[in-house]
Symmetry: C2
Subunit: 367 residues, 2 copies
């Protein structure tokens, strides 16, 4: 087996999920994530923990949803019982076709999700981590050869996460102490309040309240957004390509939107509900192992020298205890990304903390 | 999708497992059984039942067992909870290598199995069915091309099971009323008592207490076996090829054994324990869709015009209520097969019920 797969598995089990003796570990295995699942099973075994692999196939979900008529049962007992007793739930993504469920009507998908809220909560109550095995399907989505895509994925995942967490801690501290953030780039001049918010040092470990592998970002929940922003990193939003999305904010809400491509997809998002017109997240991408866009949000939003903003739902982890109900509420959470590597800066309470992709603590920082 | 896969799925869900509205259905999906799993998920959905697919991979099991040191936890709670609440457990076999776990020490496998007795019982308490998706690996084991193997499998599985069950009912009735069975073939003349036993009409449905798809046999539990038998159908026993196994019985127990090939494997079985020297099963293969040996016991033992005898453990279903404790007990249950298509006959209480592969109710029966 490729030694990089073993290192991925070790990172997932040890650093990310903090698996301990006796843990009951659910593995949600994508059809093409077999090799990673095998390596993870061995890592779990060496820690004297238990493993229960489930089969997470988009084609199977599509078949089930296609065949089903009428109401879905609320939180089927056998699945809920399994997840309520699980100590960890590790999702090992990797299929054959990223569009496998493209023809499932979204109302049906939503009805299914609504019926499974207890199951989702049980999963989120466990030590949960989402990662992906490099597949040919994802390589295709990225427009890359399989070999090159594998290297890209392992550069992003098999990192010195301890060192990454330390660097991110400096950025978290800067945000935690501050009241306002300003983003300046070509076409972008946006200010937002982050007063009384708690930034998350998302270092790819449940110990940091961070549940993606790779991660590598610091994020918080902004409010009172003013100004305009151009998202110059291309994306796929709800299955549609979008490019150069421009948003104008007044009093915290979107008052104007446009896009060079995919404006319909943006309209659909913005008009979902009131919360979708407000920002739920400001994330600063700091994973320098991710050096290109691969049309996969798990990777794109952590790319070094980028910032992402999400329209919609905020994470409660960004609020002080007891004030979680202040989090922006919405049915959606859609990330959009700005390249900050050139002619750009991030100001925090008037001080530049990053310019042209260099933080104040890095060599090459010139402000 | 191949229409034969859909028919396989329908047969499994409708005829075999009798899935009903609201059933919680665990699918244990082999890595190469994806297409069947997709078809089964759709069939389960149309019955308004719930599905939870687990990933049944020999390579993953091997990795877990290889990595694990020390004692296994008894019946891990998350898996037990899932199975105790499941209404049905459908195993969809199909991997890439039938020898995937060949280098796992058998003591480790046995220790693992012993620690999971509650889990096994919970599975057997549900409506459980074992079937297999035709894979290239199984085609190779059978020495067949993939195309030819697919045809073979669907001939065995996609049958008129109602008609098959009726035919088998006649044989069950003949056995239920009788006290003694005699098998005569080249090198074989064996008598055994079946007094007060209940034959099972194994018609590939839980409604018939039959849990294999394909099935197609009638089986009972013999006692007081006397005489000799030559198993002329080649087999794999515990990973080793055996051919022309000869057993001599006195007072119900094996007193002599030999084999043209694989005698060591037979010795190992016979010397496991006292119960392994006695027969646990007499099965009469009646599935004429299975017309050749494919080195896969799920299919081989149901082959039309064969009889199989198992050394070791008997099934409680062959005993009248309250007398299940009379069932032969052993750590093993190893099936061996006799070809009855030529120069052979089955006598029940002195009456020939099958000669040269023809039953008394079939044309061509000459006795």
């Amino acid at each position: 087996m490729d030694e990089r797969v073993r290192e991925h598995a070790r990172t997932l089990v040890e650093w990310s999920a903090r698996i301990e003796t006796g843990d009951d570990v659910v593995l949600r295995v994508g059809p093409e994530a077999h090799d990673l699942a095998v390596a993870v099973a061995e890592e779990v075994a060496t820690r004297d923990a238990n493993v229960l692999p489930t089969y997470a196939s988009g084609e199977l979900s599509r078949a089930y949803l296609t065949g089903h008529e009428g109401d879905f049962e609320t939180d089927p007992g056998f699945e809920l019982a399994m997840l309520e007793r699980a100590d960890a739930v590790l999702t090992l993504g990797g299929g054959r076709n990223t569009a496998a469920t493209a023809d499932v009507p979204s109302e049906k998908r939503q009805a299914y999700d609504r019926a499974r809220q207890g199951i989702r909560e049980a999963r989120l109550d466990a030590k949960w981590v989402l990662t992906e095995h490099p597949t040919r399907s994802l390589a295709q989505q990225a427009g890359m050869s399989y070999e090159a895509y594998q290297s890209f994925v392992y550069d992003a995942i098999n990192r010195d996460w301890e060192a990454q967490a330390e660097k991110q801690a400096a950025v978290k501290d800067a945000l935690d102490d501050a009241s306002e953030v300003r983003l300046v780039s070509e076409g972008t001049d946006l200010t937002m309040s982050i007063k009384d918010r708690v930034a998350v040092n998302s270092a790819a470990s449940v110990a940091y309240d961070s549940h993606n592998l790779p991660s590598g970002e610091v994020f918080t929940a902004p409010a009172d957004t003013e100004g305009e922003v151009v998202f110059d990193v291309p994306m796929t939003v709800n299955g549609k390509r979008v490019r150069d999305v421009r948003l104008v904010f007044e009093d915290g809400a979107v008052v104007e939107y446009a896009a060079e491509q995919g404006e319909d997809a943006i309209r659909e998002v913005v008009e979902t509900d009131d919360g979708a017109k407000r920002l739920g997240e400001l994330g600063i991408g700091m994973n320098r192992g991710i050096d290109r866009v691969t049309d996969n949000i798990l990777f794109d939003e952590k790319m070094g020298d980028t910032v992402h903003l999400a329209l919609g739902r905020a994470y409660e982890s960004n609020f002080p205890a007891g004030r979680e109900d202040e989090a922006n509420d919405s049915a959606v959470h859609v990330d959009l990304i700005v390249d900050m590597s050139e002619d750009s800066r991030i100001e925090v309470d008037g001080e530049t903390i990053q310019e042209n992709g260099r933080f104040w603590f890095e060599s090459g920082f010139e402000s």
